[in-house]
């Protein structure tokens, strides 16, 4: 077994900016090829198509969290387990990828408004459990950075129903699992790049090439273009 995250760091200069590249690489479990899928194509679904450019809240450094990575299976019956998440970053520090979930027993007996606070995150300034602003700072559930071996069995239809149930304040049949990307940046802003979600399906290694762009807005010209 190998570790799923092996940080590397390099530096580059881009448009006058010192851009810090940090990479966690999934080296996988030796041997065998890895099939790369666009999100929506393989057995595991996570991440969307598009992106979010998060406005800087004022004050630096600042921390932001990106969601939109609800996990689901479009291959019912297949055994799917997470291996790791690999990525590069541009001017981001304190990066972590967390799995957010909850137990159904946590929700039973709660009021609908309380249940709805377990719903999946889109994005927020801050990091769990201390999100900043509005309802997000009360988002409930558990967060772990230990992704290795996490099983994903919920079908995408069921995941959508569970998400609707929780959003509507009802206890779902199954809990939703979703990934949260957390990072800190300074006045220049930064972004995630080349994100891959690595998993195993029925013993075969595969990965999703993420197509959801995550940007933390700042004054760097390349970043600013994405925020206007």
């Amino acid at each position: 077994m190998r570790r799923s995250h092996i940080p590397k760091t390099s530096a580059s200069l881009c448009l006058g900016l010192a851009l810090i590249l940090s990479m966690t690489a999934c080296l996988g479990r030796g041997g065998g090829s890895v099939t790369t899928y666009a999100d929506g194509r393989g057995a595991l679904i996570a991440g969307g198509s598009g992106g979010f450019a998060m406005a800087a809240p004022g004050g630096v450094p600042w921390t932001g969290s990106f969601g939109e990575f609800a996990l689901c299976s479009q291959k019912p019956g297949a055994k799917i387990t997470l291996d790791s998440v690999s990525y590069e970053t541009e001017n981001l520090t304190h990066v972590k990828v967390l799995l957010h979930t909850y137990a159904l027993s946590d929700l039973k007996g709660l009021s609908p408004s309380k249940i709805s606070r377990y719903t999946s995150l889109g994005s927020s300034v801050g990091q769990p459990p201390d999100f900043v602003g509005g309802e997000a700072d009360h988002q409930l559930g558990s967060y772990t950075s230990n992704l290795k071996g996490v099983a994903v069995s919920q079908t995408c239809d069921d995941e959508r129903k569970s998400d609707e149930d929780v959003s509507g304040g009802a206890v779902p049949d199954q809990p939703v699992q979703d990934l949260i990307f957390v990072a800190q940046t300074n006045a220049l802003g930064g972004q995630f790049k080349n994100v891959y979600i690595n998993y195993t399906v029925d013993g075969q290694r595969a990965r999703i090439k993420n197509q959801w762009q995550m940007t933390m807005c700042g004054s760097a010209p390349a970043i600013r273009r994405q925020c206007s």
Partner: protein
């Protein structure tokens, strides 16, 4: 406020009279001989069901590849164009379903657009009665990572064109992105069979005297109508906008419904045709709900099958099919109401963008505003991709809600103050 429903901009439509009653107005391109039937190993290009039939036989199904949209746009009114009939041995039926097994290289090159689009028409006859129905759909030919031609969905994500890969008589084709897998055949259901005279084979009659006017598909007038390809629902003074830009050859892809007058004389939606390209446009940022519309040129086609124009019987059916995006863009604000979608995500202040094509496509059941012409509106479908983006500026934290999936995958996305229940 301006109601642009069924607004037409075609200036040539009135001048293009359907002249099917006039003999000898044009010659008919000869029908190409059917190539040898492919083997059973040929991939499935098209599949579907025929409504109300449980014992379909291959002889009940006739499949044609119609001319490309470029050809359909060029032909003069009154001209009959031949289609290419898919060999009968390519059709397999099971209960009420059919499959068309077709080697991509069997399709004549002239019937493949530069973007790989192939326009199928399926004619289904009731094995037990005097009824028939039609449906149409585009499929896209692409090259996979090994360079082999494959059938896939017309709105599937593709990359820019690749080399000919040894197929010297073929057009270049777009390629599947490296990360894409398992192209899926197009599903084209025949949703209804209609009573009345049932035509024999589409080109049972090769020509009509006098004047050697061929029976078959006689092309008529054109009409340009508006079609919705996106909607946005900002709140709190936040702004949204859509970009529709032209990049690679296949990046902007839409499908629009085909309306066919068949059976009782009314028009029914009978499948769709996909079109690529068109002029680019970026809508301005605006703080109100609106729909985004593009102009689409439709063409009238009369199907004579074994009849001759001018013999008094007229065509068996007439359909209006989209052939091109004509370059017009407008916004529309009337008739929109705030939806109640429940797949919501809390977002911080910033810019939410929906693009790329790994989620749901934008679909609008009555997106093509053609009611004024055929008394029914038709559907529109547009893929999200790098050239067709929907964006919201969130000035403060808000919810983004999707209609049929989470907002990052949904076909339609709205902004909301609260999570909807």
């Amino acid at each position: 406020m301006r109601n642009n429903c069924a607004f037409t901009v075609s200036t040539i439509a009135a001048a293009l009279a359907l002249t099917v009653a006039a003999p000898g107005v044009a010659t008919t391109p000869s029908q190409r001989p059917a190539r040898p039937a492919p083997t059973g190993a040929a991939p499935v290009a098209l599949t579907g069901r025929v409504a109300g039939v449980s014992d379909l036989r291959p002889s009940d199904i006739e499949v044609h590849v119609n001319p490309t949209s470029a050809t359909a746009a060029r032909v003069q009114p009154g001209v009959a164009l031949a289609s290419w009939r898919v060999p009968a041995g390519s059709i397999v039926t099971r209960q009420g379903s059919y499959e068309v097994h077709l080697a991509a290289t069997s399709v004549p090159r002239a019937n493949i657009s530069p973007e790989g689009l192939v326009n199928f028409e399926v004619i289904a006859r009731d094995p037990h009665g005097s009824r028939y129905g039609v449906t149409m759909s585009s499929a896209r030919l692409v090259r996979d990572a090994a360079g082999a031609p494959r059938w896939t969905q017309p709105l599937a994500a593709t990359s820019t064109t690749a080399g000919r890969a040894g197929l010297s008589t073929w057009p270049t084709l777009p390629t599947l992105p490296r990360a894409a897998v398992a192209p899926r055949p197009v599903v084209a259901d025949v949703s209804a069979l209609h009573s009345g005279a049932v035509p024999s084979s589409k080109f049972a009659r090769r020509s009509c005297s006098p004047g050697d006017v061929g029976a078959g598909d006689v092309y008529g007038t054109t009409k340009t109508v508006w079609a919705t390809i996106g909607t946005s629902y900002p709140i709190n003074g936040d702004q949204s906008w859509m970009t529709h830009q032209i990049g690679s050859r296949t990046d902007f892809s839409s499908s629009f419904g085909i309306g066919t007058q068949i059976g009782d004389g009314r028009f029914y939606e009978t499948g769709s045709r996909s079109v690529d390209k068109g002029a680019g446009f970026v809508w301005a940022k605006r703080p109100y709900m609106r729909s985004y519309r593009v102009s689409v040129t439709y063409r009238k086609v009369a199907q004579y099958f074994d009849r001759c124009p001018g013999n008094g019987l007229g065509p068996y059916d007439v359909y209006w099919t989209p052939i091109t995006l004509s370059g017009g863009h407008i916004q529309h604000r009337q008739g929109l109401s705030r939806p109640h979608w429940k797949n919501c995500r809390r977002e911080s202040a910033g810019i939410f963008s929906r693009y790329l094509s790994n989620g749901k496509s934008y679909e609008q059941g009555e997106g093509v505003k053609i009611f004024g012409l055929i008394s029914v509106n038709l559907s529109s479908t547009r893929a999200y991709n790098a050239e067709a983006k929907l964006n919201y500026v969130l000035s403060r934290a808000a919810y983004m809600c999707g209609n049929n999936a989470d907002p990052a995958h949904a076909g339609k996305v709205m902004e909301s103050r609260t999570r909807l229940r």
